[in-house]
Amino acid sequence: MPDLDELYREIILDHYRSPRNRGELASPPAVRVEGFNPLCGDEVVVYLDVRDGELRDIKITGRGCSISQSSGSLMSAAVKGKTIEQVREVITRFKTMMTIYETSLENPRVPVEVDLRSVGELAALQGVVKFPVRIKCAMLAWNTLVQGLDES
């Protein structure tokens, strides 16, 4: 049985109860992007203040489960103040961490190896891959961020 404590780490519950960078930015000038998980109804709204190739500020609102909301909070803390290039690197690392691939029938769900030191607090979300149904929850804010970066 996958251990629930691996999914609901203390850091995740902390970010769920006290989300970082919660709120809105005036849009425009900020970019505002909505993300929905049509299957479960979870939603996030991401506000991005991108100037001179840098993500100066990010705010997030939304409603959803502890995984979708804490992932958004952790994401905002991880990318705020970084250059767009660095933000995209963080996104790539996170997406890799959330990837499972099939190696054999006996052991079908193997997480992709990621150097956890390179992702900082985001490593708390690593347990999500053991609950494949919840990966889409963890990805919601990130996919919305990518959409926002593409639009800005």
């Binding site: 629930l4 999914l7 502890s66």
Partner: protein
Amino acid sequence: MSSFDARRVRADTPGLRRVIYGRPITYLDSGATSLPPRSVIEAMSRYYELHHANVHRSVFQTAAEATATYEGARESVANFIHAPGGAGEIVFTRNTTESFNLLAKSWGAAHLGAGDVVLLSEMEHHSNIVPWFQLRDATGVQVRFIPVGDDFRLDLRELDRLMDGVRLVSIAAMSNVLGTVNAVREVTAAAHRHGALLAIDAAQLVAHAPVDVVELDVDFACFSAHKMLGPTGIGVLWTREEILAAMPPFLGGGGMIADVRLDGYSPADGPTRFEAGTPAIAESAGLGAAVRYLTGLGMADVQSHDRDLTAYALASVADTFGDQVRLIGPADLADRGGVISLDVAGVHPHDVAQVLDQIGVCVRPGHHCAKLLMRRFGLNATVRASFGPYSIPADVDALVEGLANAIKMFA
């Protein structure tokens, strides 16, 4: 004296033998899909092993048996819902959703035009909303909604005013989220007074209570086999013979024609007009067996069992959790069935369901394909537990145990 015994139903249901993480499965998602009894599974196997042939085609023995199975299922379903015109009024579809699409795209497109109104309700499943929006976008039909009151029931006070211009009312007989059993007869009476027809989404009701389309005085009924102990892949549209006769074909192909010539085709009469291609034959055998099984249990007994269990669940949740767990649905037992939506303070439904899974309790978190209803009550999801004839008080106890675990973890 009732012979209904949920423990016997459990013994007949192989799906309940599953063990999840070392505990027997607690299946509380019958509103999404129900667990079939062995007789349903065996009826399907028997078709594949003994009678496998296509229907309505060949003269050999097994083909005749396959056709008899398929048409026999139509007869069984007609009896089950008391279709006045018998088997000739039962159209087999894939599921409730396809039944509504058939209704909108065949009957709706042929009989409704710009300015006509289709009246739905705020508690509809998306399958009884989206096909009408699609029809609106294609033809200019208007779509209007009966509001849902704070008591989680249809607010019918303005019904006569809402009926202006309405040609069809299409509502859930029982809500898949709230468990509310709607006052179908009251709505039908208003619809007929205004010269409109009435369709019901009977997907939940057929599994929880006796359904008599004559007594309900409805004009169309849509439901799925898999929510009434049958297999996936087959559903039903019922309507009266004369309405069916005035409906143009839906999908085109083999089986639905009377003749095909170089210059065109003539459609077949009756239900087969809407059943293009090889139908779900094995599934029809399963559906027929499900109807026989439910008839054997007695739907009136199924309904009283459902009511007793709902009473126990509502009391258990209220006594254990008080205001911490809010019921999203009627608290009184009159006109409600065993579909129970809950909102746990401070814990998102997905997280509740995840914690419940740890002790083998299967519930459904989400918007239940009813986003209008979620918006109406300012929610984005609920946790839903729903009963079948095999559900027992121990299932409710496991649910309460899991809810307590979730609250302990998050609150």
